[in-house]
Amino acid sequence: MAKWAFELSEEINSVVFLRSVTRISHGSGAITFGDINHLDRQARFDRSFSPNPVVQKHADLKEKQKKAKAIFEGSSFNWYSGPQSPKMIMVCSGTGWPYTMDALELLDLQDMVGVIKLGTTWPMPIEFIMKHIQPDAPLLVIEEVDPFIEVHLKEALYNTRDGSKLPSVYGKNSGHVNAVGELNPDNVVDSITKVLGIERQSRDHAYSLKINGYAAEMTFPRPPIWCAGCPHRASLWALKYALRLEGAEGFATGDIGCYALDRYYGGWQLTRTQSCMGGGSGLASGFGKLEQFGFSQKVIANCGDSTFFHAAIPALINAVHHKANSTFMILDNSTTGMTGFQPHPGTQFDAMGDTTFPIQIEQVCRSLGCTVEVADPFDLEDMRDKLWDLIHQEGTKVIIMRRKCALLAMREEGPQYRVWVDQERCIGEDCGCDRYCTRIFKCPGLIWDKAVGKAKVDEAVCAGCGFCVNICPQGAISREKI
């Protein structure tokens, strides 16, 4: 389909979107490679291109859509399968189609229900659809995200009315398909049974009752947490300390990346906002200008190294230019951690994997004229002091917390320390710390040994970063350089 999308783009001289949603992006399967068309062309900008006049361009676009629609009407990516006189017709696209096939197989309805599979959804090939619908067979639309096909199918049917009977259209808008969250085969089974008014039972009822009871008792949620040895845990730990000591209701504005895990159970919820990439920096820049309205809280923008290059620089420039009172904490783990270690302008590899020169975050920030500090998250005292000093200075400040992502460090260098809890020293439940190491710090490498009522290192999980030796008031956590 990707290959055909390129050909179509050439044919109608337009952008073509190949839309991948939810499970299409998180699934894989066996494919057979076709031939790639190597076009003998030289890269060159066609100077006859003009974006004007815009009104004429809009008219051209309408023409292109007409052309695309004519092609889609006959496209082999759209088809009908099922009986000649179906009791109902499913209209599906994307993952809606395999889920529908699963549901029909499970309900044994393949001989009763027809399926219109749409590969090309817009412009909608309405004549193709009209050819296969029947007045007495209701249409059930199965599609991901918003009810796009459902709405446009209803509109198209309205336009074709000539007094004869039209089929009903069911979908997310009509309340027959789950409109929230991801679709799955079970949703589709439910929708079919709802429209046809039939009963279904997904599996032996007694089994379901029993296993659901066991699961309620024996499985607990596993919210995402920072990995063992994650430098972000250490950086946020220092911020927690600084804000608590400061005592004036300071807070962090967040962004999208591993440091956002502060928002979840494993963190300390210092981060109070999370919108788009770079959004935390923009918000901190704005909050830093609210003094005239009585705003006195300390605001810290959390932002990763990749996000800094990608989306935070304009906000930082804006903050500096307007003398906003905010601190930018850039958590530099030298990669794009959350999405799978892609390179970024601060790394020595470019997007194609070729060696290049890394752009220094501190140089970019200093060129703007703001105060910049660089700290190592695993040097708790130094990091804490620098952070404390910066948040008490007027104006826009930057602190870069630099330490390689624990997963990369493990892969490239292996564990740095052998870490263990000296159970003679740990006084467990009797210690005034109230299980500081596990209840508050929450590194998955440190677990509670219930048998003896003391902390313990889980050797299968511990990444050997050695940071936790800093946190035990008894000094019971020890490390030894490997």
Binding site: M101, D102, A103, E105, L107, S208, M218, P223, P224, K442
Partner: protein, 203 residues
């Protein structure tokens, strides 16, 4: 309701245990034997301690969708005992076959002391009761002994091959390992695979 006609394998565990690679290895071994295979890759946070589940669907007839319907699993291959129960709750049935690692990875609610990790013997008892047949092994301990917990998933795939519950032999998997890794890494992985086979041999 009818039974799904594809072979449905649930691979589950927690983030960072090598779940994705494990499901891809199974998928690739089946693909090279000419099957249609679809993998619903991960659910949850793949590397951040969350519960992770992959669905592998195998058929001679056609490509199936990336998600296994409720209660339609045939095999659970689990890297973590609590996650085995979670997988059974979603996809289990009286006939399902289970191979489960017995080494717990403590969820953060257990680390903080809010909950106690369930008794392991009881977990095993429930798995026995709620499956057609099951096999247990401490794949984490085996891999720790070999020097790296990263091998846990290879130990598990070895156990899968040994039980013979799906149409994959040791040599099918060895082929994929050799295609994927350089020689020395392949050797270590094949050794882990062999240890996994031995661990369930007498069960």
């Amino acid at each position: 309701m009818g039974r799904s006609k594809s072979l449905n394998i649930v691979v589950c565990g927690t983030g960072g245990q090598g779940n994705v690679l494990l499901s891809r290895f199974i998928a690739r071994a089946f693909v090279s034997k000419g099957y249609h295979v679809t993998v619903g890759e991960t659910f949850g946070m793949s590397q951040r301690g969350g519960d992770v589940m992959s669905h592998v669907r195998v058929s001679r007839e056609r490509s199936y969708g990336p998600l296994i319907p409720n209660g339609q699993g045939h095999v659970v291959l689990s890297l973590e005992p609590m996650e085995t129960i979670r997988a059974l709750a979603g996809y289990g049935n009286h006939e399902i076959l289970v191979i489960s690692n017995v080494r717990p990875v403590h969820p953060v609610v257990c680390i903080t002391g809010e909950k106690d990790y369930p008794n392991l013997e009881r977990i095993k008892q429930v798995i026995k009761e709620m499956s057609g047949r099951c096999w247990f092994l401490d794949a984490t301990q085996i891999s720790l002994k070999m020097g790296n917990t990263i091998l846990t998933n290879m130990v598990m795939i070895g156990a899968l091959a040994q039980t013979g519950i799906v149409n994959l032999t040791k040599s099918d998997i060895v082929d994929v390992i050799r295609e994927t890794f350089p020689d020395d890494v392949a050797q270590t992985n094949i050794a882990a695979l062999t240890r996994g086979m031995q661990a369930v041999e007498s069960q």
